[in-house]
Amino acid sequence: MSTRFKEALNSGEFVITSEIGPPKGTNIEKMHHHIDILKDKVVAMNVTDHQSSVMRFPSIGGCLAVKERGGEPILQMTCRDRNRLALQAELLFAYTRGVRNVLCLTGDAVPVGDHKEAKGVFDLDSVQLLRTIRQLESGKDLGGNDLDGAVEFCAGAIVTPEANPIEPQLLKFEKKIESGAEFFQTQAIYDLENFAKFMTYARKFPVKILAGIVLLTSARMAKYMTENVPGIFVPQSLIDGLAAAPKGEAINKGIEIAGRMIAALKKDSICDGVHVMAIGREELVPDILTAAGL
């Protein structure tokens, strides 16, 4: 499927995507505000799907808002909350409404979220969801039945270059490519040297890679992430830099770090673009891009 996002990926330009987190509730003003800030600054915007297993306004609803406001949405779909019927149905709906980019995710586990007693579905996994998209594109559903009108999507997935151990993740990365992933957005990376090593390997495959850039807002947050979030490693030098910032200035240091990383990735053409995640501080994304000289 050719979409604005896919055209950008194929054009050879350094592609910038970002992320919108739908609200918990019906007050969608802030989400609209973030969409309006980002729509002309980035090529496309992911809309998260009950991020961290916290129940929110749905990803598809956020994607429609992005479309309505002139942006290019990437529908994040996790396998946590829907079985194969519901996932396929949502793909049919998304297609008819012009949402044509999908990021296929397994989804966080239910107990990490705010409905800890809920049933985790995981009827499909991310690899199977990618294949489901390709199956629907062939005009048949997962049951082998004919569709009255097929779909077409630009489909992607995620990879964690800092995972420990990395080998099982790389094996799954290759399975995702074999199953139809066209692009990857990575988990947050902070160690450019290690990421460059990953890219040397990833370049062997016909996929586009956007490096995940998560804004560090304080030394405490950086330390927490490196100690607790799977697949994230923040080098001590960055944590020290944030800690040394004058009171109230750590956020600016975080913006500077993110900008510097993006600029370095672009300068040396290490990857095909970046996926910038400001996690609730989306209004700072333009500042990060400015700091990157973009």
Binding site: D125, V127, Q128, L171, K172, E178
Partner: protein
């Protein structure tokens, strides 16, 4: 087969026994004895607690294996005490509760929650190894069931939540796919993990599951 059970809270047992004052207690000499949830000691402990609560315990027994055919005989041997009761409190897994329900015309109340079918790796330490899915994949996964041992039951490799070989849900638990990867690598069979696994057939044995063996 080892059916792993845990005793319900006494409050829940009390609530289930509301209005039922004459109780006959049944324990099980097999799995529930091994897990110390429904053996002789636990049955006697329950008897004392119910009596303290003001219930009348009309009798008790520990059936050798509550889920097998001898259960009917064991219940008949105790028919006097059972007929004086107005309910049976069963300290076995759900299989025993079900079996006893087939022979008794009065309320059969479970005192235990049945958790899983598991193995004991070291004394007192049980873990689930099989989810009884009806389509065994252990041949491709080096003897570790991803449907059971992976929190999300993933079939095509680990999620991004795994860290240093542990699970995102509980860092004391191993990531099943890290273990599978290690074992397959040691066996020189990593190709098995590279192979795409299609979505699971959840109707391999349709529920409610039954089978007739000729």
């Amino acid at each position: 087969m080892k059916s792993i059970t845990k005793q319900k809270t006494f409050d829940e047992i009390k609530e289930q026994l509301d209005g039922l004052d004459k109780v006959f207690i049944v324990g099980c000499g097999t799995c529930a004895t091994m897990t110390k949830t429904g053996g002789r000691d636990e049955v006697l402990g329950m008897k004392d607690r119910l009596q303290e609560l003001g219930k009348m315990v009309t009798g008790w027994t520990v059936i050798p294996t509550a889920c097998d055919e001898m259960t009917e005989v064991a219940l008949k041997e105790n028919s006097g005490a059972i007929s004086s009761s107005n309910c049976i409190l069963v300290m076995s897994c759900a299989l025993g509760v079900h079996k006893i329900s087939c022979y008794i015309d009065r309320p059969v109340i479970p005192a235990l929650d049945t958790l899983f079918i598991g193995l004991e790796d070291e004394p007192g330490n049980f873990h689930e190894v099989c989810a009884q899915c009806g389509q065994c994949v252990l041949g491709q996964t080096a003897g570790i069931c991803p449907l059971t041992a992976c929190h999300k039951g993933l079939l095509n490799g680990p999620c991004g939540g795994t860290n240093k070989g542990k699970c995102e849900v509980d860092i004391t638990k191993d990531c099943a796919w890290t273990l599978i990867h290690q074992r397959l690598e040691a066996q020189g069979r990593l190709d098995l993990m590279r192979k795409y696994q299609p979505p699971k057939n959840y109707q391999a044995t349709p529920r409610p599951r039954t089978i007739k063996i000729a």
